[in-house]
Symmetry: C2
Subunit: 355 residues, 2 copies
């Protein structure tokens, strides 16, 4: 292994040895302090029969990645670990016995925890999942978490029919925007709650332009909530806000929690639990992927999901994710911006001209 | 019909006409103001083919009965209505085509809303449900709601195994006491939270004597909650208290809400919804009975429940319900005490020497 001060920012060959760049950490803490850029040697021409070599093209910084590095996420990778859980790569070489992938296939990690902030990886074919080649880079690199979280929450908890209403808070989050667009595609109305802010009119127009039926500030929502009837509420805020959106649930309605931005507990009035049989649940995409790896029915649903989302992307029914492209060497700025800036994702890109 | 000032306190015969006493109301409001004792004439020898005549023996005043009369309960009976939803009677006469009941059978109403504060009723056989004759009066009159609520919450939400822990708040409520006893019978540990009070040591000893594994005040519970691991939490309080008992839930654990004594929303931390897939639900015995009337599987479960509880009663595994016997004419005192006194139930008894 090279010393840590001698760093290449892409995969390169030196004297027949292959070096891949990677962003790694060997202790939990402030990402700005613990993340380091490093080159790791990769043996060439040495794939095991069931292994593939993947050249990563782009990998985002998600909030969960930050929490994981800080050591406050429930899943703690074994250290040292490479950062990142989501990303998109291309199969560059396959072992003699690989059956599910071919050179040139576009792939994403099969599960969380792979470590995607690196230019290259060699690993068992089962650690990657093939996706549609028509999906452009920015979409592909951010496909696995946000659109799929929105998709599953809209599909798996309540059987909705066209014209039904879905209520959500944190509607301008990355998942919230996916909910708006996918609900629109599926024919559901969305009532969207956002925090009051200076550019509120601009934000409302923007969310309406991607398909929101109605966008309310928290205050406006409380004034109007009595007339809203939903069967699915999506909560990433908690506190009084969750109490408000849950109050719109009708008989057998479900509130799904997938985040807690207010850092306040999830709340719901007592009566609807008893008299309307409402349910509070949670959703975690990583856990769903883990289950899908062991369950044929879910595996089928995963294929169907990627295929359906790919079609929507190609048909331009999903707007381009808001990302800033970052070279790996800009990692400190990228991490800082990821922690401080909401609404726009930092995306590491790895040079695809490697050899 | 007799004038309302001429009132008999039991069913009597006058000149071949039959008069039953009943506690009724013709407007919603303070029970002390709107409930009246009245005699209603019942035609003798005039049962329709599918009707039965029931002589009620005893009917309690439950909190829901009070709320119903106040007009603040989600189920609003058509007025004028007879008070009460629970009670126990004996079949005194059956129509020519009645198949499910015989004279002498002990019965309880098949569903909520029948109006049980009366000495006698004539109605379709399907409105009554036969119970084991071995069940003594005080148990039989209070069988339908509290022990069955505890039973169903312990059986229907999580598959528990012997030695598992159930956590509940409001543990000294009537349902709470049933939970303690039935959990003990089924081999589950119970962690019980009660409010701090003057006679706390006495209450702890009492609940431990009927089977509680551990009884904590809210403060003591918070100090100990980190070490408690449950898969079922039963909540009739809400607010911070519900947040506390929910925090003990492990993977796929469920908190069932069946009351809201603090009048604060139900609360749960965000993380366990997402990462442990915990679920918040509600339970309402009346709704379960309604479903069981239309569903053969649930009908079977209802038979099994009554039979199992009857056995426990006969085997003295359930302590006698705490009741005060009241004559119908004492209804004002009984209603007042029901509204002001916790922990002891007012039970109207109707003279069984009617003819």
């Amino acid at each position: 292994m090279l010393s840590r001060t001698s760093v290449f920012l892409k995969t390169i060959n030196i004297h027949g040895c292959r070096f891949a760049s990677q962003l790694f950490y060997d202790r939990y803490g402030d990402p700005l302090e613990v993340i380091q850029l490093q080159n790791e040697s990769i043996e060439t021409n040495s794939l095991k029969a069931d292994e593939v070599r993947i050249g990563f093209r782009a990998s985002p910084i998600n909030p969960a990645d930050i929490n994981q590095i800080q050591g406050v996420y429930p899943v703690k990778p074994k250290l040292p670990a490479i950062g990142g859980n989501e990303g998109f790569g291309i199969v560059e070489e396959i072992g003699s016995n690989v059956s599910s992938l071919n050179v040139g296939d576009h792939v994403i990690p099969a599960a969380s925890g792979f470590g995607t902030w690196r230019s290259e990886a060699i690993s068992n074919e089962n650690n990657f999942y093939k996706i549609d080649k028509r999906i452009p880079m920015k979409y592909a690199a951010t496909l696995q978490v946000n659109p799929c979280t929105a998709y599953r929450m809209l599909k798996d908890f309540v059987e909705l029919k066209e014209g039904d209403t879905v209520v959500q808070n944190g509607a301008n989050s990355a998942v919230g925007r996916c909910v708006i667009q996918i609900a629109k595609i599926l024919g559901y109305e969305t009532i969207n709650v956002v925090r009051k802010r200076e550019n509120i009119d601009e934000l409302k127009s923007e969310l309406e332009s991607i398909g929101a039926t109605k966008v309310y500030t928290e205050e406006e929502f409380l004034k109007n909530s009595r007339s809203i009837k939903s069967r699915l509420a999506l909560n990433c805020v908690g506190g009084r806000n969750s109490l408000g959106i849950a109050s719109t649930l009708q008989q057998n309605g479900i509130m799904v929690t997938y985040g807690g931005m207010s850092k306040q507990p999830v709340q719901g009035a007592t009566g609807p639990f008893i008299f309307k049989d409402i349910i509070f649940r949670g959703f975690w995409m990583s856990s769903w992927y883990e289950k899908s790896a062991k369950n044929q029915e879910l595996k089928g649903k995963r294929d169907e999901m990627y295929s359906e989302i790919a079609d929507w992307i190609v048909l331009k029914k999903l707007v381009k994710p808001k990302v800033v492209l970052r070279q790996p060497e800009e990692y400190k700025e990228a991490l800082k911006d990821a922690m401080e800036t909401a609404g726009i994702k930092q995306l590491f890109v790895f040079d695809d001209n490697k050899n």
